[in-house]
């Protein structure tokens, strides 16, 4: 049994060199600075099958990733992946296309989902080359961090 058994894993996913694609990383970095109890925070440049191994042994996994094609940049959507399916069909078209949706659906098929898995999807505005979030997305990061912090503290408190 790993030390993290029954702990919480937060995964920020994205590429900070592609503007709003980096929102998952920005949120993870802010959460890492919060010293949350019983929590491990990691950054992942890409989602993919490696996540299945990464989240083994954790009771709760929280993933933060950017959403493309949204209409309200900065708005976030909370998805409980044990009770919901992603709105579009997962398909492995290439390893380049093996994203969070495909990873979670593969884990579901292989019964390798963690006991609790929540995804925070943040609508982005710009995904071009360059560092820094667009103002509308950057403005929402602190509120999202507070919400996740409160959720984690509630989970950790409940477990103790």
């Amino acid at each position: 049994m790993r030390d993290e058994e029954r702990g919480i894993l937060i995964i920020g996913i994205g590429n900070p060199h592609r503007q709003d694609d980096g929102v998952g990383i920005a949120v993870a970095r802010a959460l890492a600075a919060c010293a949350l109890p019983a929590t491990v925070v990691v950054e992942q440049a890409m989602a993919g099958p490696a996540l299945l191994e990464l989240w083994q042994g954790f009771a709760t996994v929280i993933a933060i990733d950017a959403l493309a094609g949204g209409v309200s940049p900065g708005r976030w959507h909370v998805m409980d992946l044990h009770t919901e399916l992603f709105p579009h069909r997962a398909a492995v078209d290439s390893s380049h296309g093996f994203g969070l949706v495909e990873t979670i659906e593969l884990a579901r098929v292989l019964t390798m989902l963690p006991p609790a898995l929540t995804v925070y999807g943040v609508e982005g505005a710009a995904f071009g080359f360059g560092e820094g979030l667009s103002p509308a997305v950057a403005k929402q990061v602190p509120a999202l961090v507070v919400q996740i912090c409160n959720n984690v503290r509630g989970l950790a408190g409940g477990a103790s």
């Binding site: 191994e53 078209d93 290439s94 390893s95 380049h96 495909e102 098929v109 390798m112």
Partner: protein
């Protein structure tokens, strides 16, 4: 009836309308389960195949142009960015070309560590293709997620095996994707012997898993499709090739790497952003696992040779559909070779060799998972790159992929259009084509001619 056969029969029964004597055109606008973006157009008129075009429309990426003006030390890191699947290959071809200019000869433990890093890349790239991209073709599934529902143990084995390859690249390369620890002359920093220790035990498991992969892949249903290829790969007198050797073929090509451009011509075709390659005076050829295996069977480790024989694979393999078995054998070899290197590993005194910059032109060729990858650079006396040329394996294989389809399609014109399209895509995926690398590729179109 096996799960695979049952599923496949269901697929074959769908839409039996024959394409024989018809005029059809197959168009696959986005080829799936390949790396990057490309398409296939097939035109059949009155039951005769009239045209096959493998169209690569991923935009040119101009790497050769923006290498100009950069310092020679940057080449391995810049070219690693060409591909997220085979960055090590780009790094290796780049450093060997630069070292040829500088007169550096990397030997001993540093050379072994380069082979080890390449083992990691072969394992992760081959296993990804075997389990997640290619096996669904043979078993009749749209993708690995659907396949995993019926083959959970196999897919999990694949994921764990791939992870071992990733871990080698992470530990020695500095990170899993686009490693950053390779430099001209060696490495920036080396892991300690203690850091390698846990990997040795995992590689022992990986070697068993790779052997199981060979046995599993060998019993997949392969169409009878043997082709007369000119195989081209590196050949080294003492080892299965990664970084060094002469470029040889089964039809007499036997050249030193610097003579690549005297023997291999590249030409533009209007429908592809990747150049087509041919051997001067002869035509298309094949690089990659089939070529490497068929030209170097005797250099595989005894374990890999025995596994091939037990799997019923002859020392020469001309059926591209069996490339999944050859990739499995190369994965087994890579695990075996990685173990050999680590079990004998003694840390070098320095992580790299120092070099004094000088002007010149250098050539490098190494065996990327998909085949021979050639680089040529010219640098000035300050070490600034004046000119660069990169010839990736998928670009070299384009003409051979088309040739395969010219032979593969005519006997199958009685298939439904849907089934023929599926099989054409599978024939392309035999090559594990990396379109992103080659552009400088997959959608399939079979439509009215």
């Amino acid at each position: 009836m096996s799960k695979a056969t049952a599923h496949r029969d269901a697929v074959s029964r769908s839409g039996r309308a024959s394409t024989r004597n018809r005029t059809i055109s197959i168009k696959v606008d986005a080829l799936a389960r390949v790396e990057g973006e490309g398409a296939l157009t097939v035109k059949v008129r009155n039951g005769a195949l009239k045209d096959v075009q493998l169209r690569i429309f991923e935009p040119p990426r101009f790497f050769e142009a923006f290498l100009r003006g950069r310092h020679y030390t940057e080449a391995p890191d810049i070219t690693a960015r060409i591909c997220g699947i085979c960055p090590v290959a780009y790094q290796m071809s780049a450093v060997h070309a630069m070292e040829a200019i500088l007169g550096l000869q990397v030997t001993g433990p540093l050379r072994e560590l380069r082979r080890l890093l390449y083992c990691g890349e072969w394992i992760e790239s081959h296993v990804l293709h075997i389990y997640l991209l290619h096996a669904p073709d043979f078993l009749g599934y749209d993708d690995a997620i659907r396949m995993a529902a019926d083959y959970p143990d196999e897919v999990q084995r694949g994921l764990q095996l791939k992870k071992v390859g990733n871990d080698i690249v992470t530990l020695l390369g500095g990170r899993e994707v686009h490693p950053i620890n390779v430099r001209v002359g060696g490495f920036y920093k080396l892991p300690t012997k203690a850091e390698w220790a846990p990997l040795i035990e995992r590689l022992k498991w990986a070697r068993d898993a790779a052997l199981a992969t060979v046995r599993w892949s060998a019993q997949l249903p392969f169409p009878a499709f043997e082709q007369e290829y000119e195989f081209v790969a590196l050949r080294h007198p003492e080892e299965y090739p990664f970084n060094e050797g002469r470029l040889v073929s089964n039809r007499g090509l036997d050249i030193a790497v610097p003579d690549f451009e005297q023997s291999i011509a590249e030409e533009q075709v209007p429908y592809s952003t990747a150049l087509h390659a041919t051997i001067e005076q002869r035509g298309n050829y094949l690089v990659g696992p089939l070529a490497r295996y068929s030209l170097n069977f005797d250099k595989l480790s005894p374990l890999a040779q025995d596994a091939a024989r037990d799997a019923g694979l002859a020392p020469t393999c001309r059926n591209p559909f069996q490339s999944i078995v050859v990739r499995s054998i190369e994965t087994l070899y890579a695990c075996d070779e990685a173990l050999r290197i680590l079990q004998h590993y003694e840390a070098p005194e320095h992580p790299y060799l120092e070099a004094t910059v000088r002007a010149g032109t250098g050539h490098g060729c190494s065996e990327a998972p998909r085949g021979s990858l050639y680089h040529r650079y010219t640098i000035d006396e300050a070490g600034i790159i004046q000119d660069a040329r990169i010839v990736p394996p998928t670009a070299q294989n384009q003409k051979t992929i088309e040739q395969d389809l010219w032979h593969f399609i005519p006997p199958r014109l009685d298939l439904s259009k849907e089934e023929l399209t599926w099989q054409c895509e599978q024939a392309i995926r035999n090559y594990d084509p990396c379109i992103s690398c080659s552009t400088h590729f997959l959608r399939v179109e079979i439509s009215d001619a």
